[in-house]
């Protein structure tokens, strides 16, 4: 070793460019956040953040066909990486729009909020590209640590801080268990490289090696915490409910995509030869997850909690795509991730819009009767719920169909059956939201359902009809029932008003959800690219 000149690894900067754009953007955004001008901070920072994400998206599309190692076998860009990249960056763009005039960045300083968001997305990109245990752990922490802080950005609201601390404790516990698992896998195979692990695994046949099996089990537990797979999902409802809603939306879609990206890479590439050991265990976990998520969501009155449990159930569906260890399973999982992204973003955008328009926060009552008063929000929410439930002509149906197809094809037909049962249970709570939207009257102020007391109201964006007229004051129990028409939805910033960008995200995502259900071919073509990362799969 001594005397030999160390040669640095060849670095493919063109391939790395989407990641470098994000990191560079994070630095610039942090600096611009220090400017004194109010407009620069409140509008310049989000605009720059959005531009960064758009640049990264453009660079990803430029690199769409590349499939190569980037840095000394630590990162590789391939079909799975680029497709997941598009998902992360799109989720980030939607989050920037949703948080543009939200409370969280104002409370925590705009520069910091957006820099953390961009860093977290960079962590996801590292995770999706990683082909090495070291970069896997690096990416996982780079995505998680900013998220812990983002959850706590509404710093004067106790629930936001509580959700941040809970996420930190559970997340770091998950990371520690995951790391212990990775250390054991390294010990069993003598390699941190995915290719090296797979090679050692197939050469020696480590399927019954206790070190390897313990390592795999602990990695499943660790990733289970991140992807909120039951029985490691208990943190999900609390954290989703407490975090600022734009952050919740981001967490729900992007973190899930990142966690499943690494699930696919680690299990379907590095540990593929031990599939007989982990596939039945993951199938059992998927079943438990589907049941726990769907049953947990039944009794929830908070929309964010309901969507949190629903995201647990959806994680179970997607886990089925990992279990089957086939190219079809990989494509089905990624397809579902894409659909899941748009339908959840549509739902969260509507929740954010109603949080700002009413004082009901994320309670189910906030969407009651919006079918008549706010069709521009009612339709996206309806489409999102139908799609999450898997009704035909929506992306969710095609996604579930694709997943069930993969389970039957992979010899796990019973798991497909579990998915169907889970979807049937899920109709109960999704349809409850649709019924609230179309079949109830808008809650008049006088007879309003109990406003969630304490933590939320002051920060939810003011009173619902505060600007409508002197008579309809939110707190007055004696005030005349505010008619729907009395509610003014202006474009003025702040002050309990609807914001066009939130409605735009809702409508756009709902349109994409329907598009994925009616003409799924473009998305199929995109997902088809993921196959090249898995040369060892059928």
């Amino acid at each position: 070793m001594n005397g030999r000149k160390l040669e640095g690894p060849a670095i493919d900067f063109a391939g790395l460019s989407p990641l470098l754009a994000l990191l560079g953007g994070a630095v610039v955004v942090l600096m611009v956040g220090l400017l004194r001008g109010r407009a620069a901070r409140e509008h310049g920072v989000p605009a720059l953040s959005f531009a960064t994400l758009a640049a990264s998206l453009g660079l990803t599309i430029w690199q769409l066909d590349s499939s190569e190692e980037l840095v000394a076998g630590a990162l590789a860009i391939d079909g799975l990486g680029t497709v997941l990249n598009i998902l992360f960056v799109s989720a980030g763009m939607a989050t920037v729009l949703l948080s543009w005039r939200a409370l969280a960045p104002r409370e925590s300083a705009h520069g910091e909020f957006h820099a953390l968001l961009l860093t977290s997305i960079a962590g996801m990109v590292v995770l999706a590209w990683s082909t090495n245990l070291v970069t896997v752990f690096l990416g996982l922490e780079l995505l998680s640590i900013p998220l812990y802080v983002l959850c706590a950005t509404e710093m004067r609201r106790a629930t936001s801080l509580e959700s941040g601390l809970k996420y930190l404790i559970v997340g770091s516990l998950g990371s520690a268990v995951f790391l212990y698992g990775l250390a054991l896998i390294y010990g069993a195979t003598g390699s941190t490289d995915f290719a090296g692990i797979a090679e050692a695994n197939s050469a020696v046949g480590l399927s019954s090696d206790p070190l390897m099996l313990t390592g795999i089990a602990l990695s499943v537990v660790g990733l289970g915490f991140k992807a909120s797979v039951a029985p490691f999902h208990q943190w999900t409802p609390d954290v989703y409910e407490g975090a600022p809603t734009p952050v919740t939306a981001f967490m729900a879609v992007a973190t899930k995509a990142a966690a499943f990206g690494i699930f696919l890479r680690l299990f379907d590439v590095a540990l593929i030869d031990s599939a007989t050991a982990w596939a039945p265990a993951l199938a059992a976990l998927a079943t438990v997850t589907i049941i726990a998520g769907n049953v947990g969501a039944l009794g929830q009155s908070s929309l964010k909690r309901m969507l949190a449990y629903s995201s647990v159930a959806q994680a179970g569906y997607m886990l089925a795509g990992v279990v089957v260890t086939s190219g079809l399973g990989v494509r089905a999982t990624v397809f579902y991730l894409a659909v899941y992204l748009v339908m959840n973003l549509a739902a969260f955008a509507v929740i954010i819009a109603r949080e700002r328009e009413t004082s009901l926060g994320d309670d189910l009552a906030a969407v009651e009767g919006i079918g008549a008063t706010r069709p521009v929000l009612a339709w996206p929410m309806t489409i999102a719920m139908l799609s999450l439930a898997g009704i035909p002509a929506t992306g969710g149906f095609i996604g579930k169909f694709f997943l069930i197809d993969a389970t039957v094809d992979g010899g796990y037909a019973w798991l497909g059956f579990v998915i169907v049962i889970g979807s049937m249970i899920s109709l109960a709570y999704y349809l409850r939201v649709i019924a609230a939207i179309w079949m109830r009257d808008a809650p008049a102020v006088a007879q309003s359902t109990p406003v969630p007391a304490g933590p939320r109201p002051a920060l939810a964006g003011g009173s619902p009809e505060g600007d409508a007229g002197p008579g309809s004051v939110a707190l007055g129990a004696e005030s005349p029932p505010a008619q729907a028409g009395a509610v003014v939805y202006g474009g003025e910033p702040g002050g309990g008003k609807a914001h066009w960008e939130v409605a735009l995200v809702a409508v756009l995502c709902a349109a994409l959800t329907v598009a994925a259900g009616v003409v799924p071919q473009p998305l199929f073509d995109l997902v088809q690219r993921c196959g090249d990362a898995f040369t060892n799969l059928v």
Binding site: L133, S163, S172, S175, L179, G187
Partner: protein
Amino acid sequence: MSLTVVIAVAALLFGIGLYGVLSQTNAVMIVMGVELMLGAAMLNVVGFLRYAWPEAVSGSFFVLVVMTLMALEAAVGFALITSVFRNRRTAEVDDLTELQG
């Protein structure tokens, strides 16, 4: 000293850390438990690097990266605990019960 001893010590550390996370009610103690668990994992990697795979140097990078991340995680963790303490005057996780249902 052999690999078995190292793995046993690491497993013991991991167990102590896990017990700490699950049994302690003070957020500071919980973060310390997590640090112990991460330390156990690093000890494992070092043990494997020394006794089983001396030529697989990527293990040493692994330890260095993990060490950095561990420090970051602790920093962010204590910052969060501090802001919760300022807001609520407590660092006991049993008192954080606003979110449930």
